[in-house]
Subunit: 391 residues, 2 copies
Amino acid sequence: MADLLAPGARLTERLGPLRIRLAADRLDALLITQPANIFYLSNFKGSAGMLLVTPDDACLVTDSRYATVAQALVAASAAEAPLTVVQVEWSYEETVCAVLTDVGVSRVGFETAHMTVARHDWLERGLAGSGVTLRGTTGLVESFRQVKDADELATMREAGGRISLVMEQVLQRLRVGRTEREVAADIDWAIRGAGFDGPAFETIVAGGPNTALPHARPGDRRLAPGDLVLLDFGGIYHGYCVDLTRMASLGTPDPAALAWHAAVREAHAAALAAVGPGVRASAVDTAARMVLERRGLGAAFAHGTGHGLGVEVHEAPRVGKHRPAAAFPGSGDEVADVRLEPGMVFTVEPGVYLPGHGGVRLEDDLVVTADGYELLTHVSLDLLVIDDAPV
Amino acid sequence: MADLLAPGARLTERLGPLRIRLAADRLDALLITQPANIFYLSNFKGSAGMLLVTPDDACLVTDSRYATVAQALVAASAAEAPLTVVQVEWSYEETVCAVLTDVGVSRVGFETAHMTVARHDWLERGLAGSGVTLRGTTGLVESFRQVKDADELATMREAGGRISLVMEQVLQRLRVGRTEREVAADIDWAIRGAGFDGPAFETIVAGGPNTALPHARPGDRRLAPGDLVLLDFGGIYHGYCVDLTRMASLGTPDPAALAWHAAVREAHAAALAAVGPGVRASAVDTAARMVLERRGLGAAFAHGTGHGLGVEVHEAPRVGKHRPAAAFPGSGDEVADVRLEPGMVFTVEPGVYLPGHGGVRLEDDLVVTADGYELLTHVSLDLLVIDDAPV
């Protein structure tokens, strides 16, 4: 498992700026409940766990199912990034209250966007009279995760190359007569075969009118002659997500499909051209949106232009319309219209959707560089036309 | 998509008792944020959405990505189970505040275990002065979901049969030399091929010492002669989850492995024998645990005996040790030691884990009946011994 993990020195590099930020916010510790944040700071990936970061320690609270894995993490990173493991007896909440009281901290931050009201109420009651008080925080670890370090970029570059090969293989094998579900099963198999831990999200295979659904789910519809086909899938590689969308046509595409494809391709190019350090994320969205509006397809572009990628398949930065912050809970980075910085990784995926008719989306992943961007995914943007070979 | 959905009449049957409960709790409405609860009451399955249930309406708040799907649901169930759809403009929170204010309700329940502190704080601010007050609830819809109706049982019976066939096929094809990851990819492909929407959770393929990890993740280790192999996977069929674990040995198993397997098999039988209406869920756990303790393997049984199954792969009832409710947030049904009722569906999956050596788990799904239980999964519990055929 060692090769899947950030080295201890990296964990220390990640914890350092977070600890400086906690001190600036006059917090004695941060209780981290978001699984991706826990993985980023400790290499621990489980379905349950909490991480308490203090000025000189990181304490992982987990349960007996993960005891062996947690001990291996301690052994792997002990020299450079000390990690203590505490095992839950009855409940996470009860154990965390005991840890917080023992550690001797007073002001403890928690993640308001990743703690339920039920858990918060319980902790408040459990800590009453202990001298420990909980303070809401928003997007602290997420703001650091937005900018990838060299190890993360190396992993994501490799992942982008591998998912691109999967896309090329899958596109070549599309045939009339197969169901969306069958094609999705083949894709998921190919994703695993390419060295990914698994799909990064539910693979989308949409044919014909189903291409008009931005979040189509593969069904029993068979691909038919003349269908537009949308393939949108991703993989998790050493803990990091990539995400890619391409289009094909089974036989000669109709003129409307060609027009949608040309418009989306132009919007995709305009978005890329807008990317660079210091640019507002919303400016990338605007660049794509203006192209589609000029083509009369503005209303058909029913989502934002992109989303950050990393440990999560949707993370900061958000690349969409500039929105009124007042309409959103907190003011987290997932909402903020950030200025792009080198090392930020996100998708560019304009699309148009004409309900009942069809749709087109084209998606790539990129990292912002000092003078623009570098694509992580590499597949021709052409609408691949597949002749109606025998099934 | 129609065949994937509960008929409108079923939705009405599900909403009826919930509305009675809301009236008893003096709530004018319930704001549902848990995706499985939303699906159960509306057939809507998306990555984002909220459902507001009032005495005479159900209002689905969702965003533009799901507009077409949501309108299809309205059309499908309109006659029997009225559903209104409201589309989000800027944020879910802002839209929900507007809906709550418009609808003219006063006391509105929300799900404390499924709403973050950030969202709750925002809603409280957004509703200030509106006359709408939020009241915490716990496990309201979950308590109804525990007992499956005839449609749900028919779906889960079919799913249990299908996943059993997948297990039989996969077991027969296990071979020395394949990696855990490759076998997992084949399993996920077979799950899709058997008509499932996809795996119900990350498929577990563990060989040799990795069988000692209750939540092992498939890696690059190749299956070797003499390995114990643990396969634990499930599928989602028409929205419902099933879950199955079996063991194989590549070549003659060593005596320790045989002893673990015999003990777990006996614990599995003891758990089944304890199942029946009126029995406490913890009594099923105790029955399995006592067998393993008698065999000196009590400490090696590192988890509960089972978990409820349905729209979620882990839901109520919890089948584990009787635990002090005071140690847990709220007092939800996911924690409560319920008395079993006909129609409850859960797994029975005792296991033993000897770190560094290996482990065994055997898992089936069952529904409680008037006089005991009915198994939903049907695969021999034997340790399948696979001779070392050429790779």
